[in-house]
Symmetry: C2
Subunit: 414 residues, 2 copies
């Protein structure tokens, strides 16, 4: 028998269970409620606990923002909105979703390639546009002039440093995101001269970093950069969005970020900040860290088969719903997410088993030669860490299978 490939860590809220239970109900109960498999269940209790923990760790002048691209499921968004200071969106579609649950003054719109219609929608609503280029600034100003609305804008800064250990670097080099920092003061002065309603800076060094020291360092650098820019502009930025970048542990050997250490260090950095930022508010913008561990993707075994001495559990869910778990989205080397047989999480492994989806492509593999217990057709398999970049970040139309169901647990009572 070949040796098993490791899986990532099951989130602490589920790790010790024998029968997988989400917000007090078993996986089987959730599948019954959904009416069919596969399904995503998002436990809002876990999200609320993450928000509360982060709130306690962060200095008082730092808001928490939710980047809704991580998971825009409407009931989840509605539950999160009152508990965070702001929502960050990246399209007109996301803007509409955010406006349904949060006042425009607490919504900001980032992303390169905003179209005129998108800028107009944001302007009319009164959301903050995070400008990604001088050209976009020109267009926003022109549309504002036409509409008779002073555009509410922040400037996204491409910093000259990067978040070390980041799964996706967004700073420290030529980038489609933001405006190179040395050109930012000129742009802000122009915005002020044209009577734009300038809201401050958005500075984002990277995402999915598990290196707490690197996050601390990037935040300190970001505060310094914002102060330097503010000084050159000669104005206090009302809000400095420090970005986010907190990762979650997906793979074997990954460890979570130390949110309390990060919060404490940020407190020190802000306590000693230059006077130009005295009256600024700050924001940490997170998506994945808030919701990623709260989601479970449940899929049912349709067939079990043996081939070439290996065992396959063939399930009804796969890459059309959970592309990232199959290693086909933003990762170079395929590694196993945490996966379990939902009703027997503590059972002894029966061997090295691959969990494959129903798509007629070898890419559709949710677990590769993992140590999993015995199971039978009809059993539920849980794929953890499905709360962020799951349902919407997957090619749902691929091969013509139905979309996954999505359910929010604890949405009303917590």
């Amino acid at each position: 028998m070949t040796s098993a490939k490791p899986m990532g860590p099951i989130p602490p809220e589920f790790a010790g269970q024998d029968v997988l239970t989400i917000a007090g109900r078993t996986a089987g109960d959730w599948a019954s409620e959904a009416g069919d498999t596969p399904l995503f269940v998002y436990d809002f209790g876990i999200v609320a606990a993450r928000i509360a923990r982060l709130r306690a760790a962060l200095p008082g002048e730092v808001e928490i923002h939710y980047a809704i691209k991580a998971n825009p499921f409407a009931p989840l968004l509605e539950a999160i909105a009152p508990r965070v200071g702001g929502l960050d969106v990246a399209s007109a579609g996301e803007l509409a979703k955010a406006l349904a649950v949060k006042p425009a003054a607490h919504i900001s719109f980032a992303g390169p390639g905003k179209r005129d219609a998108e800028l107009e929608a944001a302007l009319r609503a009164g959301a903050t546009i995070n400008l990604e280029s001088e050209g976009e600034a020109d267009r926003a100003l022109a549309i504002g002039l036409r509409l008779g609305i002073a555009p509410r804008v922040a400037v996204r800064v491409n910093p000259d440093f990067e978040l070390r250990g980041s799964g996706m670097r967004m700073g420290g080099r030529a980038s489609p995101f933001g405006i190179d920092s040395q050109r930012v003061p000129d742009l802000v002065r122009r915005l002020l001269a044209e009577n734009a309603d300038w809201q401050g800076f958005h500075i984002f060094g990277g995402s999915q970093s598990l290196d707490s020291a690197a996050i601390v360092e990037a935040q300190a650098e970001t505060v310094k950069l914002a102060a330097a820019l503010a000084q050159r502009v000669g104005r206090v930025p009302p809000l400095v969005n420090l970005g986010g970048g907190f990762g979650i542990p997906y793979f074997a050997g990954d460890a979570p970020v130390d949110v309390e250490a990060i919060g404490a260090a940020l407190g020190e950095a802000l306590a000693s900040r230059p006077p130009g930022l005295d009256d600024s508010r700050f924001a940490i913008e997170l998506g994945r860290w808030l919701v990623g561990e709260a989601g479970v993707y449940l899929t049912r075994i349709v067939d079990m088969k043996e081939s070439g001495g290996e065992t396959f559990y063939v399930v009804d869910g796969g890459l059309h719903h959970q592309l990232a778990a199959t290693g086909n989205f933003g990762t170079v080397v395929r590694r196993n997410y945490p996966v379990a047989v939902a009703a027997r999480m503590q059972a002894r492994p029966a061997g090295t088993i691959s969990v494959v989806g129903p798509l007629c492509t070898p890419l559709d593999r949710l677990a590769d030669r993992a140590a999993l217990p015995e199971a039978q057709v009809g059993d539920l398999v849980a794929v953890f860490l499905a709360g962020a970049y799951g349902a919407t970040a997957s090619p749902s139309a691929f091969l013509g299978h139905p979309p996954a169901r999505e359910l929010l647990a604890n949405g009303r009572n917590s």
Copy 2:
């Protein structure tokens, strides 16, 4: 200036053009007809020419099948259906699309993890079920018994060889696809004993191979394997699906497969086939090769920006419509698809330029530091090789942008 990264070859039908013209109309005309960008245009004339060329190259007893997962756009499917011998589907959703344009007797349904409801739909319609495991055979027989229908089935064989040079290997090792060849005769005997309507074998060694000699070799091996299995079963398989696997050139240095050489070699292999296959029909099943080069993804420049000395064309299309072109689907190393400024395909490069989409993620890059000519906001950029595994194989809901439009060119007149 950094040196440009190469792009793949523009398909011959478009390569020599100055203003990109698809089926006699310019890219700009197509964008106007669509009403907005981004859009996919599929030139059915190119598909028809591929089918005709393949038809001329293949021996008469070999049918051409279209694997609709490559592109299930309904008008395209309707145009292809009368020109091919069969349609291959991989879900109940695809089955319904195929049944709208082709009699069930010419439809086969492959894929692991078919659910009972899917087997029942295929049984009722009279489509051929390509059985992927003994367990699936049991379920199909039981459902047939319940419905009083003899299930029309073929057996998918996991061959003990693989298609060399294949982008996606599906044979030669433990696999979720098909039944290991040594177990196939027992299964076929059981199917016959239970009065199933046995249709033959489906043997698929891999896909996206550009190695014509390897395809020739795999086809010869497949014929041999089918003959050996037929002999052990003691029955003539009505149809032997030899699989497909013809790749198309996506990247610099790629060369197309030699269809005429493959057809000639297959003719020889069939001419000398063992008598057990004398009365069999054969099929070559292709998706990508038939439609991939016929599609162009058109997207408009929304912004142009400079950062860190590099130039970015920011377009309104991206990985939410064309995931594979951004290197995030089934490829390990990101390489450039062929990309052009649609109205100036022969213009001199203005430098090394990256084409990035509107999604707020560094993954959204359609061309990385490619040699592209000058352009301006509003110009159309064409991404070629967008006819297969494009719109449906991309995470269309990611970040809340609208879906791409799809148009069929030459659909009625050719």
